[in-house]
Symmetry: C2
Subunit: 341 residues, 2 copies
Amino acid sequence: MKMDDRKFMILQAIIDDYIMTAVPVGSRTISRKQGVGFSPATIRNEMSDLEELGYLAQPHTSAGRIPSAKAYRLYVDRLMKMVDLSAEETGRIQDHLNKRTAQVEEVIRQAAQALSDVTHYTAVVSGPQMAGVSIKRVQMVPVTETSALLVIVTGAGLVRERVIQVPEGVGPDQLYGLSKVLTERLAGCSPQEAREQLTNVTADLGEHRQLMASVLGVIDSQLGGDENVPLVVGGRSNLLHYPEYSDVEKARSFLAVLESREKLAPLLKGSDLEFTVRIGPEINMPEFSDCSVVTATYHVGENTSGTMGIIGPTRMDYARVVSVMNYMGRAISDLLSGVKE
Amino acid sequence: MKMDDRKFMILQAIIDDYIMTAVPVGSRTISRKQGVGFSPATIRNEMSDLEELGYLAQPHTSAGRIPSAKAYRLYVDRLMKMVDLSAEETGRIQDHLNKRTAQVEEVIRQAAQALSDVTHYTAVVSGPQMAGVSIKRVQMVPVTETSALLVIVTGAGLVRERVIQVPEGVGPDQLYGLSKVLTERLAGCSPQEAREQLTNVTADLGEHRQLMASVLGVIDSQLGGDENVPLVVGGRSNLLHYPEYSDVEKARSFLAVLESREKLAPLLKGSDLEFTVRIGPEINMPEFSDCSVVTATYHVGENTSGTMGIIGPTRMDYARVVSVMNYMGRAISDLLSGVKE
DNA sequence: GTTAGCACTCGACCTTTGAGAGTGCTAACA
DNA sequence: TGTTAGCACTCTCAAAGGTCGAGTGCTAAC
């Protein structure tokens, strides 16, 4: 048995209906739809075929059909059409973003808020990945007698900062001098190159061994892996609107995942494509077995990029979600690259 | 009718039992308890009195009694005894905090995590309130041609930073010079004094009017009110463990409050006391009508302090919560004041 | 290939019923 | 006079049974 145009059409109608209602779809419902010129009996035959092909499932004998993960896969890959956002939607997004700021944490917080607000799903946004980045400037600002704020500026104009310990007796002017040396030596370096350069610097300077070790530690931790990129979640409570989460225990374990960076981070990874859709079982996490995750990449400058994701029920409105993220990707890039409106 | 020792004792027993089980407490249950030498019938008479006095309520005729908000109030004010934390509990807290860092965001995040983890309730921790603070140092670090990171260090050794716009043509050295002037002029100032000083500085410098306006803007927003102090929540999913939140809609509106800074911030305010307990209706928020909030203050240096809060069901284990927060208050102070272990 | 008709299935919802927990009241007891 | 045993009463909860309606698969006719 093969798929034909009519089967595609019926499947699409079922998915569309189920996305809206979350109720198993019966043959009569489809037959009544505009543009479907067949009786319920005919639809039933086709539905029976679609079930055999693995696209539909029946919760129990006398219920309607619900789309399987395979059906959503087909829908996302072949049936889905991009939609245009309404002026009201883009307006809502811009309202969240209209603060003029290039502060990474703030931008991604606003982005997560906007995404969850517009889609009514849960949004996760990570800060820009610093792995392939180049260093532009390193500067220490004195804080107390024994500590300073180490500020690292990247080529793309992103900033990371961190308090480090400073040996007693190293004064503000000395810190400024050291900062100049560090900036000269490290400018243009990748984090890996910086590590080598720093050992040279340490050798040259002789003293300040411990301080340089702290600097290296920060570069490693802040520009190294992605354990330290900020990660914010928005709209945690949104999913509890959906009947999929009318069971508190399910809701709780879902929320628990959102609270665990270790479990959450992998959801945003796994693909460098512009968009990635993972559906239910494809995610491979029991807590998310009837969730889908749509992730997208945003770019800042040449080499820097971050990820955002939307988590919703498998029956989520993929077309709209992809459109919203598409729009948001450009918006974040503009904000973080300092583009003026 | 008046309260007597026996009534207190019975009320305490009922509260203790209800805190553990969340099930209405019957006369037999109390009568069976160690140290209570009375039959269920006697207890029943006393319970009937306690109900008349407003300390107990009956969900329905043939159920046991549950404590009223008034009973918890009495419990917190008069009956509660501080408990000692077990080594296991202090250990768990230290495990969350053992990263050596004086980074405010990180410390309060860890604190919220630790509090929620140890108490199994939901925790909210705010960063130190900057209102009464004095400025110690102001420094700008160049980021791009047209932006810089403005770093403000306070007397207590706390740091706030923010990206500001810089007019084209102002180079790194000039920014450093300006930073020196700013630090000289503003050192020791309160935010209010800084505002006046800055207008002087602007007058003296002539140019850089716009830059100074940006600096002032940051001082106002970062050290001014408390709209900009960081606020982190830990253990959002914890409350869903309790039968009070077995209703999804209730859980959802609870979570929605946690997502709204405007609704959440007032919960941490309202009292300068070391500890404040607000019970159910005292909170005056429908979403929290059967929650209690315990808040406590922590101090950094002389003039700087922040707030933490625990949100749990009204039948929460107040004694333990207060003890945990007491311990945590000292731990946060130590971390943020840079005290070494 | 399409459709009408029909018997069949199964969950949703309602009602009934019985068990259990807990109460208030009364009368007896120390 | 305070305490307690006994008992009738109330109310929730869970299980059991019954009805309704939506939806199916199959067959036969168009």
